[in-house]
Amino acid sequence: MEGVVVLLNCFVSPFGNRVRIALKFKGVAYEEKAENLAAKSPLLLSSNPVHAKVPVLIVDGKPVCESLVILEFIDDGFSAAGAPPLLPADPYARAHARFWASYVDTKLNEAGMRVWRSPKGATAAVEAARKDTVAALKTLEAELGGKPYFGGDALGYVDVALVPFAPWFLTYERFGGFTVAAECPALAAWADRCVRENTCVAESLPEAEHVFQFVCGMRKAFGLD
């Protein structure tokens, strides 16, 4: 695939950072445009008219939206010699990877959002959200098992789908009143390993404290405190 590659992203977005990791993983040169989600750019609104969300990947002027769709697009389109595959070759292994990436979106993200987005004082809601988030993390940890990565010996599609949520763990922990290290030590170790052993991950993720500050700012803006 040829042409200029532009990524519309917000630095804390776990969805956008999936794409960052994938592009770096593939060694694809790209330009990133930071979006202020409170004041979306005309480019974002015109290239993602359906959802008006980040990330959007624009290749040679053509936009692709939805992070997992983008990951598959990157894997389909940037498979030049030397660029490792994100998804495995075997159809069953691919189905397995797609299943778990979808799980991150539907189970972990949904519960995690409820942890930090509940209004002040909504103790019951936060407690329920904490339970669901921990349950999702434990399920993911069980799927990891004794493997160094979800992809096996090396970073793969599910790792890329999940690891951008790691900088959000601190936020879940502070609002939810638990620690990932205590509840899911293997998963916490996996997150550290991803960063330590993969430059593409280390270079793509924000500081956990910055995510927390960002969320605090959002809560104030939405009157949740």
Binding site: V50, I70, D76
Partner: protein, 232 residues
């Protein structure tokens, strides 16, 4: 020549999600055994093979279990020979996946709630649904199918809009596809439901009506509607 391990599809005849998986198998020409699941009394087989979500469809291919309808469709496309369901071009594949995702995450809930609610609430869901349908209408862009000349991944993903929508419109008196704005979608629905392979796994109108009438006890419907709204 070695024969492929047997294929079984655990599902329910009335489920549009199960239909996606069945349609993929039929279009690829893959023989399979259909195992009807009693959703009020879930089987050990289903629960053992889909412990995470405990839902149908579940595809069993030898000792492999594949869950989640769209994951199954892509698996069938990749694991078996036959006409490809997804287009070859990476950008076209991304568009097909995008619109399938749109149906499942943005379109489905207000669409279903258009049938399950009343009054002002219903008006809101109808308005939203018509906006969503207009986007899908535009995607057809003069083509016979979303996939072009033949049924493809996106047609399968959107197949709930073919027979099921017509049945719910008839059952509730709500008019959606009947609107003037959706001539292309109406034509598509006819084409899709007339496809030879699709017809072999498409439940009949009366069958679907019978199933949803039986389960449509007022309190149960209300519970489903409330749950869906809470998820938004």
């Amino acid at each position: 020549m070695s024969s492929s391990p047997p294929v079984k599809l655990i599902g329910h005849f009335a489920s549009p999600f199960v239909h996606r998986a069945a349609a993929a198998l039929r279009l690829k020409g893959v023989p399979y055994e259909f195992i009807q699941e009693d959703l009020e009394n879930k089987s050990e087989l289903m629960l053992a093979n889909n412990p995470i979500h405990k839902k149908v469809p579940v595809l069993l291919h030898g000792d492999r279990a594949v869950c989640e309808s769209l994951v199954i469709v892509e698996y069938v496309d990749e694991a078996f020979d036959g006409p490809p369901l997804l287009p070859a071009d990476p950008y076209d594949r991304a568009m097909a996946r995008f619109w399938a995702h749109f149906m499942d995450t943005k379109c489905r809930t207000p669409l279903v709630l258009s049938f399950l609610t009343e009054g002002e609430q219903q008006e809101g869901f109808l308005k939203e649904t018509k906006e969503n349908l207009a986007l899908l209408e535009a995607q057809l862009d003069g083509k016979r199918f979303f996939g072009g000349d033949s049924v493809g991944y996106l047609d399968i993903a959107l197949s709930g809009m073919s027979r099921w929508m017509a049945v719910f419109e008839e059952m509730t008196g709500v008019s959606l596809l009947a609107d003037d704005d959706f001539a292309a979608l109406r034509r598509w629905a006819k084409e899709y439901t007339s496809n030879e392979a699709v017809m072999q796994c498409l439940p009949g109108i009366e069958q679907i009506k019978g199933h949803f009438s039986a389960t449509a006890k007022k309190d149960k419907v209300k519970a489903v509607a409330t749950a869906m709204q809470q998820q938004q």
